[in-house]
């Protein structure tokens, strides 16, 4: 294994292009694009200020660099180095900037979520979308890039607008039966939109593309509700992680719960294998769980530490929620399906896991912790059982 020299970067801005050929890193106000195979600098762009956000376009041709402080967005072309584009949001401010799926439009969210400005790089046209809702996940593009769902708040009521990304035509606009909409997510086939309420109420609503309410799911009342929602890649299952430390999985036909996984403090399932980091601070291993009750063993990759198989039952350190503080660190906060929809990785409680990602082969998980990265391989022979 070879290691390259260390490249400088700032604000954790270091991204590989979607086609996997280039690597873009930001160093203060400079944007450096390298060829991944040779690691040689292809382009060097200079932005107007320190870059706070950087994003590749879907076709890997353009790079967006947002400077939130200045309310500026600069776009660079990889093919035409002298092409440049600068979008100034002006005094209205900027809190978020992102590409549209086609890579020709930029969506800027202004301060106070006053509006979303859609800038077209093709026509230089600008369009505004009013009343966007400031919430956990208020905007979501469908997987094929055709439609965009946007949560809106008007007159103290939640609405969802569905736009056609092609020309930002408003396709549907409907009110949702939520108290305080917290997020929405398209199913991978782009036909069902899952909408969930804020944590004060356990409520998951499912809308079809044309705005019909397909189903409503409510597991319990009164206590804190949904924390995370994730679709399986096959669109057949919807996993809902909640504050009661359980994952419920709905099917796509009747939208009823088919199974419920708990996160017990002691793992005594005989099928489970638990690996524990020994040398360093323990308790990095995230929860084990799978759709088919096959527990994945986590092998953590680190140079200094080793991992041992713990004899069952294993006691997982549990954080008691503090009642006087908001947003308790309990509940299932991260859900990740493997690409073949066979496994589900979850993160429960206050583990130092930033993100969970499955490898496309579906037999290994990347765990990004606060100060380390873990690769969890699953023995493929094991799953044959």
């Amino acid at each position: 294994m070879n290691f390259s020299e260390v490249f400088k970067q700032s604000n954790h801005l270091c991204k590989v292009s979607p086609d996997g050929k280039y690597l873009a890193t930001c160093v203060q106000y400079r944007l450096v694009v390298r060829d991944l195979s040779t690691l040689q600098i292809l382009q060097l762009y200079t932005c107007l200020d320190q870059v706070s956000h950087m994003e590749w376009s879907s076709d890997s041709l353009f790079i967006l660099c947002a400077m939130y402080k200045r309310g500026l967005v600069q776009v660079w072309s990889l093919e035409q180095p002298d092409w440049h584009c600068k979008i100034d949001e002006g005094s209205i401010g900027l809190v978020s900037s992102r590409w549209s799926p086609d890579g020709r439009h930029i969506l800027n969210t202004t301060e106070f979520h006053l509006r979303i400005t859609v800038w077209s790089l093709c026509t230089k046209a600008v369009s505004y979308i009013k009343y966007p809702k400031a919430c956990q996940k208020g905007i979501d593009f469908s997987r094929d890039g055709c439609y965009m769902a946007l949560a809106e708040r008007r007159d103290c009521k939640d609405y969802v607008s569905i736009f056609v990304c092609d020309d930002w035509h408003l396709l549907r606009h409907f009110e949702t039966e939520t108290q305080d909409l917290a997020g929405l997510e398209w199913s991978p086939n782009g036909c069902v939109l899952a909408v969930w309420d804020s944590c004060l109420e356990y409520k998951v609503l499912l809308y079809s593309l044309d705005g019909r309410l397909l189903s409503t799911y409510c597991a319990y009342e009164w206590s804190l509700g949904v924390k995370s929602v994730s679709w399986s890649p096959s669109s057949q299952f919807l996993a809902i992680g909640s504050y009661d430390e359980k994952v419920r999985i709905l099917n796509h036909i009747t939208w009823k719960k088919i199974i419920q996984f708990e996160h017990p403090a002691t793992i005594d399932n005989t099928k489970a294998i638990v690996y524990k980091e020994v040398d360093r601070r323990p308790a990095v291993v995230s929860d084990e769980l799978s759709l088919h009750n096959i527990t994945m063993g986590s092998t953590l990759f680190s140079t200094q530490s080793k991992y041992e198989i713990c004899p069952l039952p294993v006691q997982i350190p549990v954080v008691k929620p503090e009642p006087d503080r908001a947003n308790p660190k309990i509940g299932v906060s991260v859900l990740a399906f493997s690409s073949d929809s066979r496994y589900l990785a979850t993160k429960n409680g206050s583990f130092q896991v930033q993100s969970l990602k499955w490898h496309c082969s579906g037999d290994s998980v990347i765990l990004l912790g606060k100060d380390q990265l873990c690769l969890c391989y699953m023995d493929t022979d094991y799953e044959e059982k």
Binding site: D59, C85, K86, G90, S91, G103, L114, C156, L209
Partner: protein, 668 residues
Amino acid sequence: MGEWRATNAYMEGPEISSISHVTISPSRHNHVPGYSFPLSRSSYSVISAFCTEDNVPQSISYLNQELAVLGLSMCIEASSAEGASLKAVPVLNTMYELLQINKRNMCALEEMEKEQLKKLSTLEHIQISNSRLKDQLELSMREKSGLHETERQLQLKIKTLQSCLKTEKEEVQKLQSIIASRASQYSHDAKRKEREAAKLKERLSQLLVDRKERKLAIDVLNSLGRSDGKRSMWKTAKLSASHESEMYKTLLGDYETSRKALILENAELKKVLQQMKKEMMHILAPRQQSTSGATAADDSQEQVESDEEKAGNTSREAFDHSCELAREQLLNSIRQQWRKLRNHVEKLDQVSQVHNQMESNKETIPLETHEDEMERMRQEVQQCREFIHAQQQLLQQQLNTSFDDETAALLNDCYTLEEKERLKEEWKLFEEQKKNFEKERKNFTEAAIRLGREKMSFEEDRAAWLKNHFLNATPFANRRRYSSSDGQSALSVRSEPEVRMSSAKAKRSKSPTYTTFSTPKPSRSSPVPSTTELYRTLRLLPDGSCSKHSNRGRWLETSTVEEGHPQIKSNLQARAEHRRRKNRYYRSALGKRKRTNTQRMSSSSNLTTMKKAVQQLRFEASINRVKVSQAAVDLQQFCLQNALQDPLLTGVSSSTNPFRPQKVCSFL
């Protein structure tokens, strides 16, 4: 008796004082009368004032009155008018009566005193227990009061708690209402705030738009082409319509895919259903035959219907999967089938329950027998196992010693091992017997040979003698003699051919004895053997032939016996002895004949020969002879004696029979 008299004497004194005295110390009086006697004596002297010589009649009358009062009919009478002396008999009687009364009273008194003592003790006991109970009562009263107190306190507590609860409930209600009001207030405020924020946002955006800031612009070098290469279109109704249609297309596509998946699933489920139906029908079919006629008819009808439905279903399936009619019919048929199955199962349950009840009533005794049977079977199995084990062990042994042929052969038929050994012993015995017989025969033959030789020598002697006689005789005088001798010689000649004939006969029979005998050598002049020898040999000669005969017979016998039992052996030996004795008898008879013959032959034999003959006769006379009849009787007796042990007559018992049929071992 002395005491009694003493008391009597004392009793003659005044009774009242004594009674009074007695009441004072009854025990003393009872136990130490000797002691009280002098005391009463002294008292007598003191209270002698009662009766003096002057007032005897008065005192008598007084005493009579007193006695009447006491209920005694007797009265003391003065013997004389003056009353100086009393009539002894009534006085004594009254005295006796009084004594009796006194005694009785004393006894009663004693008993009563005892009673009193007892009662006193019981009283004491009762008093003690009473006091104890009083204490207990007091204690319990105190406890009771304490409990009352605690109960009161608890009730108070309950009351306070209830009031607390009430207040708490009220509090809760209040709080709930407060929360509700607060929540509503909060939501209201939130809405207000949100509205305000919205207004502010509106205002801000308006302001921002109104200002038309220079900065709020896009600065692009040159506009890019669309990623799909198409040109952007104007926003028209057509476009929106196309969007709509596209959306519906995607939706439709999604529904189509889901429908397809569902159809596939449906088809599979249908397949499963059909299979289930088939199996159900298969299960239900035999039941219909067994059940009673009415239900069977019903079922068969249903069966036919369901069959029709099934056919319809399958035919429809081919045309249209989602035909509702087909689905309904399918559902109906399934329901019917299901109902039937359920009924069937219920029926079966009932039947089984009834059956169980019946069985539980019935099967109590059979179960025991069954267990017994089982136990027996187990035992049998155990036995069989042991048997097999033994067999295996034997086999193992055989395998181990298979190199030894003889033992292997023995082990091959381990059942007949014993018998074989026994037979072997028998065989040995027979062999020995055979040897003995051989020996005897040899002896006989040797004797015969000797006899032949002796005979030959005798012939030679005779020839020599004849020659001498012929030569010694005068031609004339000797002629007559000669003639006579000739006659004799003729006789002898006549006898010679006899001998020769016999020899020829012997030759023909090829007996070794006769061959030796038929080759006389007249040239050899051997000394004449002693007559005793001769006779012995002569006696032996027929014995030889006879022995041969008997031998043969014996052989026959042995051959027959050989297969028989060893018990025969002694029998046989005895018989052989008998035969020998008989032979001896025959021999002697034969010897006599020969002797006469020889006597005739040597009519004028010399003295020595005569002497020898005498010797021989003496010898023979000394021999103990047995008559044939006696021998026969002996023989018969022996036979009868041993008849019981003769297996040929009585048969062999199965326990000792070595050739009994083998037991057949068979597994059950």
